[in-house]
Structures are given as C-alpha cells and as structure tokens.
Point group: C2
Chain length 201, copies 2
DNA sequence: CGTTATACTTAACAGTGTTAAGTTAAATAA
DNA sequence: TTATTTAACTTAACACTGTTAAGTATAACG
C-alpha cells in the first residue's frame, strides 16, 4: 500500500512547488502583476494545472498568506520562553512583529492588506493561524494586566491597542519608504515605548 | 476671447465627470474590478477618451486620491480654530482622522494602501496635499511639546508615533470587520488616550 | 470658403482568469 | 495478460483587461 502514499507525497510536492513559485512571484512582482500563466511557466506546467490544486488565484494568495502567518507565529513564539517580565516580553514581541513585517514587507502586505482586499468578509476564524498570532499577543497583555502593571482596562481593548500600534508603524514604513522618517529604530522604539507607557497605570 | 475659456471649462467638466465616475466605481467595486471600459460606459464616452485626460489607470487613481486627501485636510482644518488646549485639539484631530477613514473606508484604503501599491516610490512630496495633512498633525504635536506637556522627544518622532496609532487602528477596523473588536468607539478612545498618555511626561 | 486644430472613436494587440473538453498514462479488476 | 476505470495533466476557447495607433468628424480660425 505504499503506492498511494507515494502519490500523495508527489501531489503534496507539486502543491508546495506551486506555492513557493507563487510566493516568489507575488513578492517580487506584486500580486496584480503575476498571472497564472507566469506561475505555471515557472514550474513548467500548464496554467490549468494550478486549478487542480487551488480554487483560484485568490485561494493561492490565501495559502501563501497562511504560510506567512505561520512564519510570523513561529518567530514570535521563539521569544516566549525567554523572558519572565511580561512587559519586557511585550516589548520584545512588538519589536519582533515589526521586524518581521519589515524583513518581509511584501509578504506582510500580501497578508494584512492585499488579502483582505481580495477576500471580502475575511475573518480571523477560531483556530486559524491569524487568530493564534493575535492570541499570542493577547496572552502577554493579559499577564501585564493580571500583574497590575497595566491599567485595569479590559484585556481585549488593550491587546487591540497594541496591535494597532505595531501594525500602523509597520505599514507606514513599508508603504511610504521615501517619507522623511526619523531614524527607523528610533521610531519603532518610540512607538512601542509610548504605547506601553500609555497602557501603564 | 470667451470661446477658449468655455472650452477649457467644458474640458474641466469632463475631467471631473471622469473623476467622479471613477471614484464611485473604485469605491463600490474595488480598484481591481473596475475597467477603463466600465468607467467610460458610465460617462457614455469611448474608453480611449479617458486617456486624453489621464495618463493611465494609476494616474486616475492618483487623482481620485488627491481629492480624498483634500477632503481629509479640510475635515481636519475645520477643527483647528475651535480649541485652544493643544492636547484636546490633538485628541479631536485623531478622532476626526479615524472617523474620516471609517466614514469613507474604501477611499481611505485607496489613498493609503492601494495607491502606494500601484505607484512604487510614491513620496509625500513637499507641497503635496499629503504632506499638508501630516504637517497639520505635526503642528499640533509641536505645540504640545513646546508647552512641555509632552516628553521632550523630538517633534518628528512624536508626530510619526501619533500617525502610526491612528493609521493602524483605522486600517485594522476596515480590513478585518469581522474580528471580535471591542466596541468601536471604546477602542478608538483607548488608542488615542493610550498614545497621548504615553507621550506625556 | 478652405485649412488647421481639437475632441473623440474604431480597431487592434498582447495579455488576463477561468472553464470545458480532450488526452495520456498509470492503477485496478477480470 | 488484457480490459476498464481513474487520475493527472493539457489544449482550446471565452469573455474580458489596459493601452496604443490610426482614423474621423466637428468646430474654430485665417
């Protein structure tokens, strides 16, 4: 019964091949400028083969973004055990989140900006990776509140404020690279410091 | 010599017609889903006529966004005279900025998200309306610092932190409408309150 | 009245996402 | 082994896209 398994493995392999060809093209040329035919020719298959693995172009994008979210989640979770002080952990996580966005700016935009555009009614579903990323943040924030380091505003709001801050600065730095920003790290530090200071009692 | 003027007026009229048809379609159906032919048929001209008034589709988008920025600037500047306390003014302005984004979510996204995608190397040029919007914010912030209400970090950074916060929450609320946000106004208040508190000494 | 310039249109090119039908080769059953 | 079914992939086509070059009609000017 090894044949079926080999076949399944080969199918999965091609799926991954499509996925990574798509990511590379999306990132380098922009979602709009990448055609199914371009992806197909990169992997040396006919365009319609892709449709045997993905519903349509938006679905392909979605799968690419799921991978990105998983990478982001892993990046963040590597910091988890390190530090005991929750505020310090929140700072590190915030910086890591922003750093991730700036290291893979196109992936970040695809995930948090382009994808919502092409998937109306997109929701961070229960159990989804996106939800897990937010839950990670949520957990640290809730520890800060539990230890009465932060004001006793409700946890959800606090987490969402934090997310707004890091998301905002990340996107601005990506989208307006020619704006006369102050030194990059200084701005990032200021955003994180300001937000956390504002959340404290 | 009134003929030339009438002609110029008529030309400007058609330009405006194209512009508002484009805006309506972009906003309702999304930039990607609007074709030049669709815009043309809405104003009952041939598709190529548009190219006599705008360089290409991206240029048309850009012009639509310039209008949006002008609207935003006017909305903000109406608050200017009202209040003397700069912190109160900053709060009001922040709320007004977010409210604008949420009132015209598609226009906001077109301006601050879609446009940078289709105009690589977009910069907030000296004298541009976008620059003026930022300068408006900058001015209030600098008054807060001058009166020593805010920490003596440099003005630019402070303004950029503020922009990050309002931009971030605006986009998140637009892009993930199904996320379990806390009550909208509560979140907005929290973002503004947190950021300003964090900027204070 | 003839000429020139302006405003607009027609036709076409090379490309798009996607579907339906067709083909080939491998796995299964007789 | 041979026939049949299934899986994987391709070809051809449809209705569309942004954009350009060439053509046309009308209004203004000398």
């Amino acid at each position: 019964m090894g044949i079926k398994e080999r076949k399944a493995r080969e199918k999965e392999q091609l799926r991954q091949q499509i996925l990574s060809a798509a990511r590379e093209l999306f990132v380098n040329e922009g979602y709009e400028n990448v055609s199914m035919r371009k992806i197909a020719s990169k992997i040396e298959y006919s365009p319609t083969t892709i449709y045997l693995y993905f519903k349509d172009k938006a679905d392909l994008l979605d799968s690419v973004c799921q991978e990105t979210l998983l990478n982001l989640l892993n990046t963040l979770e590597q910091l988890k055990s390190d530090i005991s002080d929750p505020v310090e952990r929140l700072k590190k996580s915030g910086r890591a989140y922003i750093a991730f966005g700036l290291k893979y700016p196109q992936d970040y935009k695809l995930t948090f900006v382009v994808r919502p555009q092409f998937q109306e009614g997109l929701r961070l579903q229960e159990g989804s990776i996106g939800k897990k990323v937010f839950d990670y943040l949520h957990e640290i924030v809730s520890e800060c509140i539990r230890q009465q380091i932060f004001r006793q505003v409700d946890i959800d709001t606090t987490g969402q404020v934090m997310w707004s801050a890091v998301h905002g600065v990340t996107l601005l730095l990506i989208d307006f690279p020619d704006f006369p920003w102050t030194e990059r790290d200084k701005l990032i530090d200021a955003v994180i410091h300001t937000t956390i200071a504002g959340l404290k009692a």
